[in-house]
């Protein structure tokens, strides 16, 4: 009886922690990026909760919808947010998570594709050139980034001998025990190497996927040159609030995945307990957000035609990881 009650208590606390992370972390990520950029430019920057205020402001406003649009436009933003929330539940982007069904890596990649399709359809529905050009660039980026992301996750899958992300992102309790031992793959350092490579690949891929610098500058005022902002140009009011929140949540999922890779790299060389894992996963996301802020202050936007060259770095990172993982033995039957 006591066992059951502690179990219920634990799963309840997991749910509460998880839901509050979903609500709090995305806006915090946005603030951290803005704040870092402001500090590097010797400005004070927005208050910590500014994205919340923005969302509340948008929620109170009325919506303006173009007469060209069909119902697809508004449904697309709803469906997009629902898909991202589903992804937040399935993807192991935090070390603490409530129960979730198996999160196959191919399923996750294609669910991200589903979310992308919804945003593309919403952009095309307005009949404006802004939306369509944004959409056109977004599918191009999607094509470039998807193989890199898939290869990165497949590399981890091959390394751990499973395509289920829950299995892949389960911490080995000690060095050499757990997933890495099954593959008979390598020493702790070798494992850390693969985790690091994939972590960097996912981080770089997320910069492209989330249309941030150096692929796209989300803070310019010329939407015609942009990707995400061009796509959401026609959205307003609550609709825009949904889209902005979905985008921020997608950002924290990607940053979280990357941070998890780094934490796993650490865990494969030294022992980390559950509490530290939890703290590290949040700290990792915040750290990556600050890193992105620094990067956006230092880097310049790449010319659109140069983007494939940047993607080549990401793909080669994933390829390296994947070939090391594929060559490192596989499961001994």
């Amino acid at each position: 009886m006591n066992d059951i009650s502690t179990h219920v208590l634990r799963s309840c606390s997991h749910w509460i922690l998880f839901v509050s992370s979903i609500v709090i972390l995305p806006p915090v990520c946005l603030t951290l990026i803005r704040k870092t950029k402001a500090r590097l430019q010797s400005r004070v920057g927005p208050p910590l909760l500014q994205p919340f205020y923005d969302l509340i402001k948008l929620y109170r406003k009325s919506e303006t919808v173009s007469s060209t649009m069909s119902g697809v436009f508004r449904l697309a933003s709803v469906a997009g947010l629902a898909t991202i929330i589903l992804l937040a539940w399935l993807t192991p982007w935090l070390s603490y998570k409530p129960w979730s069904p198996s999160a196959d890596l191919f399923l996750i990649i294609y669910l991200f594709a589903l979310a992308r399709v919804f945003s593309l359809l919403g952009a095309l529905d307005s009949g404006s050139a802004f939306g369509a050009f944004g959409a056109s660039r977004e599918v191009t980026l999607g094509l470039l980034v998807e193989p890199a992301l898939m290869l990165g996750l497949v590399a981890l899958g091959l390394f751990c001998g499973s395509s289920d992300l829950r299995m892949i992102f389960s911490y080995p309790h000690a060095i050499g025990v757990g997933a890495a031992a099954v593959t008979g793959a390598a020493s702790g350092a070798g494992a850390a190497g693969i985790w690091l490579l994939v972590g960097i690949a996912i981080l770089l891929a997320s910069l492209i996927e989330l249309s941030r610098m150096p692929v796209d500058d989300p803070t310019t005022h010329l939407e015609l040159t942009m990707v995400h902002e061009a796509m959401v140009l026609e959205a307003s009011g609550r609709n825009l609030a949904l889209i902005e929140f979905a985008h921020a949540l997608r950002m924290s999922i990607f940053f979280g995945l990357s941070a998890q890779c780094f934490v796993h790299a650490l865990a494969s060389v030294c022992h980390i307990n559950t509490l530290t894992q939890g703290i590290l996963s949040v700290v990792g996301i915040c750290g990556i957000a600050i890193f992105v802020g620094v990067l956006e202050s230092l880097a310049v936007k790449l010319q659109w035609r140069k983007v494939p060259e940047f993607v080549a770095y990401v793909v080669s990172m994933s390829l390296l990881a994947a070939f090391v993982a594929a060559g490192s033995g596989g499961i001994k039957l």
Partner: protein
């Protein structure tokens, strides 16, 4: 009742229904409605037959009057053929529902009697190919199928493009049949039997007939580099015919591969690797060329090439795994192939029927003349969207279920295969497939956006109305199939495993773990979406205004991105493959700031066609011109030919 009798009766009924159809349709005035309902009735009867007998294997041999010369026609109904009969009947049923409404838009363009005779022949022969158990029956049915489909492609034969398409298609089918006949004869000389069951491709001499048969099937399936007939044929044919052809006819070569080569124990690594490479290239090539198409049906045709490539790739993985003695992977890949045949059949016939509805209502298939149909044809749009989501293999649709199995088989192969070369190959295939998936999304987002969203680009599209109820029923039925097959994939996979494991010889008993809780995910997604909509958007105040025009005055349909401009960034990346060129000329007095006329021309050259096929054809027609001298029109000369042939044959007979 004896199952053999049931089978015999059903076959007889099918034939007699078709004969009745001929008799009825031979009159000059044919009721499309009556013919369509007859087609529906035959299809539902065939569905009933395919599920009757509870999975028993039934074989049947024709008796004396129905023999071909000295050889009886033999038929076999087992799990695999039952499955394909079910796919075919479902597609035919939907086409039957769609036909009356659609054909009324083609009045005066095609002759009803001729159309229906050819269509019933096609339906009958497709059933025949699936059921045939020996090479002779197979080739007879195959020929009826090829010729009747060629006649159907030429339905609207007053257009020059249709004539060209029919000619190209005929050329492709003739070559395919020639190769198949060669392969069959060779196998007969090796084994002394026409029956597929006694053909064994594992023996060392069987590699050449196997290659001939594989090439024959590849041509008919539209695998790269033999795919060039597809993009001509599908746009030229009426939508009902292209739905039947893309939905089922191109799956028949796949069925043939499974029935003849794979069940025959093909094990030569050269042929398996050839299949692997051809499959991988077709999937990429098809989707890449689909991206730059501006004709909706041509785009769908290229997408068919992609999907056939995926199926061929799955078959190759299955064979590789079987050769490496990894039966579980062999089963997963085989299930992926068979399941994808079903899924692609449902999806592609749905998309072609929707494209047909758009063509009939907006009077164009050209993406530059469509747009904004969302408000005018909402139901057609919903069905097309479901089909497009499925073909992009987006969960929870059916396309995802089979593609996931393919990914799983590749992933497990990379884990379990011994040689590093094989592992690298599988890893490359995973990478290629993810690029193919992303390109497919680009293709179909373009199709969805340009056809249905935004502003109408032509007067006809602006005044389009929703398709007739019958046409919608057919589409809704197929769309429901796409969604249903996706959500209930876990249950289906266990059924298909039984069929597949009988095709991959070392039978495994371990069931495939379809570890995706798709119903749960679909339910969660739908519930979350509903909650978000109700909580946030339903009560939101909405003001309708115009699209943001930067203050330059009203936007026109031409200010939207066109199909070409949407695909341009991607096409630029793949310039070396596509030979993609854009020429823009801007003219006017001060052409930089106040252009008076802007001309943009996009040019794509198919290298394969211009550099390989056309030179080959030129050589053949040059030789043919030389041969034409033989036909001089003089009876004396012909008598000399006959006499000399006789003498040569007699001489050969005495020598050999």
């Amino acid at each position: 009742m004896n199952s053999q009798v049931v089978f015999l009766e059903s076959l007889f009924l099918l034939v007699s229904a078709a004969v009745a159809a001929f008799a009825l349709s031979h009159k000059s005035q044919v009721s499309d409605k009556a013919m369509s309902y007859l087609l529906c009735a035959i299809a539902s009867f065939a569905i009933a037959v395919s599920f009757l007998g509870g999975g028993q294997i039934v074989s049947y041999e024709t008796s004396a009057p129905l023999m071909l010369g000295v050889f009886p026609l033999t038929f076999l109904l087992d799990g695999l053929s039952r499955f394909f009969v079910a796919i075919l009947s479902a597609i035919l049923f939907a086409i039957g529902l769609f036909s009356p409404g659609y054909l009324s838009h083609l009045k005066g363009k095609i002759s009803g009697g001729q159309y229906w005779i050819a269509f019933f022949l096609l339906a009958l022969s497709m059933f025949g190919v699936v059921l045939s158990a020996d090479a002779i029956t197979f080739i007879v049915m195959w020929e009826i199928m090829s010729l009747s489909s060629a006649a159907l492609v030429a339905s609207d034969h007053t257009h020059q493009s249709v004539q060209k398409a029919a000619l190209i298609y005929l050329g492709a089918t003739r070559t395919a049949s020639g190769l198949l006949c060669g392969g069959f004869l060779w196998m007969h000389s090796l084994t002394g039997s026409w029956n597929f069951a006694s053909w064994n491709f594992a023996q060392p001499h069987a590699i050449f007939p196997a290659l001939l048969i594989l090439l024959g099937f590849c041509i008919k399936a539209g695998v790269w580099p033999f795919h060039i007939w597809l993009p001509y044929t599908y746009p030229a044919a009426p939508a009902t015919v292209s739905a039947a052809m893309s939905g089922f006819l191109v799956k028949l070569p796949i069925y043939g591969l499974i029935r003849i080569l794979i069940q025959g124990g093909l094990s030569s690594p050269e042929i398996i690797n050839l299949m692997f490479v051809l499959g991988a290239i077709s999937s990429f090539w098809g989707v890449l060329f689909a991206l730059v198409q501006n004709d909706l049906k041509r785009l769908l045709a290229y997408s068919s090439i992609e999907n056939i490539g995926l199926i061929l790739l799955s078959l190759a993985i299955s064979l590789k795994a079987r050769a490496a003695n990894l039966p579980l992977i062999a089963d997963v890949a085989m299930v992926a192939a068979i399941f994808h045949c079903l899924n692609h059949g449902a999806i592609k016939s749905l998309l072609f029927l929707s494209a047909g509805a758009v063509d009939a209502m907006a009077h164009s298939r050209d993406l530059h003349r469509l747009g904004g149909l969302a408000k005018r044809m909402p139901w057609t749009m919903a069905c097309f969207f479901i089909g497009a989501f499925s073909i992009c293999s987006i969960p929870p649709m059916n396309g995802f279920a089979s593609k996931w199995l393919l990914y799983q088989s590749l992933f497990k192969s990379t884990l379990l295969f011994g040689s590093y070369l094989d592992r690298g190959l599988f890893l490359t295939a995973i990478c290629l497939l993810s690029a193919v998936g992303a390109l497919a999304i680009a293709v179909f987002v373009k199709a969805m956006g340009v056809v249905f969203l935004g502003m109408s680009r032509s007067h006809a599209a602006e005044h389009a109305v929703e398709a007739s109820p019958g046409m919608l029923c057919a589409q809704v039925l197929l769309a429901a199939c796409c969604a249903g097959l996706g959500v209930f994939a876990p249950n289906l996979v266990s059924q298909i495993t039984k069929i597949a494991s009988s095709s991959t010889r070392p039978i495994t008993t371990a069931p495939i773990d379809f570890a995706l809780p798709i119903p749960l995910l679909a339910g969660t997604l739908f519930a979350t979406g509903l909650v978000i909509y109700v909580v946030f958007l339903q009560s939101s105040k909405v003001r309708t205004f115009k699209t943001w025009d930067c203050g330059f005055g009203p936007l026109t349909p031409k200010t939207q991105a066109s199909s070409d401009s949407f695909a341009q960034p991607l096409a630029r990346i793949f310039r070396p493959f596509l030979k993609y060129e854009t020429n823009a000329t801007i003219s006017g007095r001060d052409r930089r700031h106040f252009p008076e006329q802007i001309n943009v021309e996009v040019k794509i050259v198919s290298i394969l066609e211009s550099r390989v096929y056309l030179p080959c054809l030129a050589v053949i027609s040059y030789l043919a011109r030389g041969l034409a001298k033989l036909q001089a029109g003089s009876i004396h000369l012909y008598l000399v030919y006959v006499c000399s042939t006789l003498i040569i044959l007699l001489a050969l007979g005495t020598i050999l």
